[in-house]
């Protein structure tokens, strides 16, 4: 049986990731972001998806936040809430809802832009949310590790998750060593590997999957 995978997100990269994971043999159920607004709706949606899968071997939450750059001083409070706070709250609700369905061998993966580590001018709300979610992933690793549950963050190029306007963000001095910023198949391969028992001794760490731009630390 393939890996039983629950994928949550919305957007072009999310759609492609779902297709690529299915192509790799994952049994995939998907979850829209609207269900994450409140804990009860998240629990209902996750329970339904988990029942269809039988259990959750792999949870993938994709923080995709396409947009154009807006200086923080010009951002409305509503936009700040929608782009920064709502995704953080949603990430929390998703983990809370999934916890009863995770067990020994389960893996939790958050896909975020490397802006989490380097910041992102014009996209401060996205970077702020992404780093908060990255910390939540680490805390989950520390709390759930003794139950055999592992976590990881896959940090992708901002271009993939935010858009081309985010290409200059991130505080890195050099471009990608591999000469490209990658795509869904590059990420799917890493996520697939993280779901393997061979990768089970890494937890809470961030795998930077940006073609070799961000190399720190």
């Amino acid at each position: 049986m393939g890996t039983r995978t629950l994928v949550c997100g919305a957007g072009g990269l999310y759609d492609e990731l779902v297709a690529r994971l299915r192509a790799r043999g994952h049994l995939v159920e998907t979850l829209g972001l609207s269900s994450l607004a409140a804990r009860p709706t998240a629990e209902t949606a996750v329970d339904t998806a988990a029942a269809a899968l039988g259990t959750v071997d792999l949870l993938v939450h994709v923080l995709e936040s396409p947009g154009q750059p807006i200086p923080l001083v010009d951002l409305s409070t509503d936009d700040w809430v929608a782009v920064c706070e709502d995704p953080m709250v949603g990430a929390l609700h998703l983990l809370q809802a999934c916890r009863p369905h995770l067990g020994p061998g389960s893996r939790v993966v958050h896909v975020v832009p490397t802006s989490a580590m380097g910041g992102a001018p014009g996209f401060a709300a996205t970077a702020t949310a992404a780093e908060g979610i990255r910390a939540l992933n680490k805390s989950a690793a520390r709390q759930w590790g003794t139950d055999g549950i592992t976590t990881a963050v896959v940090a992708a190029a901002p271009e993939l998750l935010i858009g081309p306007a985010a290409s200059s963000s991130g505080g890195a001095l050099s471009g990608p060593a591999l000469g490209r910023t990658g795509g869904a198949e590059d990420l799917a391969g890493i996520i697939d590997t993280l779901a393997s028992p061979d990768a089970a001794f890494t937890s809470g760490s961030t795998i930077v999957a940006d073609g070799g731009t961000w190399m720190a630390p």
């Binding site: 920064c84 706070e85 709250v89 929390l92 580590m117 780093e131 805390s139």
Partner: protein, 258 residues
């Protein structure tokens, strides 16, 4: 007692510190005042902030207290307005206040206290940045956020706190890039210091102090004024004029993962 207003590393500067009535905020304010800054203690509890401001004035410093609940944008705007009224300009905005529950607990139980924590840290940082920006741009000033090593390595006991403190750090890095061309610097301090909150934690966990000391190479817990305050002085002074987007971990050497 009168002092030369231009003396000290922060002579002539004006700083507003949220949560300035006690703990690390008051320590930062005191250290900045000792280096010549006029300080505004923005405190939710005026009964803490006013005596602290009075003590600073009695010591010959320029200080005032304003009541400020950082979850209220109106309060933040009023605090900045009071700063301008009192001292003419604003050079340094230090967002130190944190509220809501930071009680240890599992991710599954994070609902209680989480909204208050999010409001006082993440939303308040957003509001503070927008409110302070015009004044910091006019002064070529600096914006300082208090973060935590818990946000960098995650926390088994304080997942909510780790989440919001991590997010503030990414905000600081983003703003350092947005505001750098205007000459505004944005930095963070990740402190560990003896505060009223830590005293409460000690009472709840009798072995906590010993565990903290064991993991701290300098074998002591920081003092808000003498250990954390000088880091804020450095970051907001001309000594750090070429430093932005950075975090200084002031914890006695416990966390080395940065």
């Amino acid at each position: 007692m009168s002092k030369d207003l231009d003396a000290g590393l922060l002579g002539g500067r004006v700083a507003l510190i949220t949560g300035g009535g006690a703990g690390i905020g008051l320590g930062i304010a005191t250290a900045m005042a000792r280096e010549g800054a006029a300080v505004v203690l923005a405190a939710r509890r005026i009964e803490n902030g006013e005596p602290a401001a009075e003590a600073l004035r009695d010591a010959g410093h320029r200080a005032l207290c304003v009541r400020c609940d950082v979850t209220s944008r109106i309060d933040l705007e009023s605090a900045v307005a009071a700063t301008i009224d009192g001292f003419g300009h604003l050079d340094c905005f230090v967002h130190n206040a944190v509220g809501g529950s930071v009680a240890p607990g599992p991710i599954e139980g994070m609902d209680d206290g989480w909204p208050g924590l999010l409001a006082t840290t993440v939303r308040a940082s957003f509001d503070a940045a927008q409110v302070a920006h015009p004044h910091l741009a006019a002064a070529g000033g600096s914006f300082l956020l208090l973060t935590s090593a818990a946000g960098m390595e995650g926390s088994a006991s304080l997942p909510a706190y780790a989440m919001v403190k991590a997010s503030q750090r990414a905000l600081a890095k983003s703003l350092s890039q947005e505001w750098g061309p205007a000459g505004i610097r944005v930095n963070c301090i990740a402190p560990v210091a003896r505060t009223p909150a830590m005293d409460r934690a000690y009472r709840a966990n009798p072995d906590l102090e010993e565990r903290l000391l064991e993991r701290t190479p300098l074998r002591r817990i920081g003092d808000p004024t003498d250990d954390i305050g000088p880091v804020a002085v450095f970051l907001t002074s001309d000594l750090a004029r070429f430093v932005t987007g950075q975090t200084i971990v002031a914890d006695g050497g416990g966390f080395l993962g940065l």
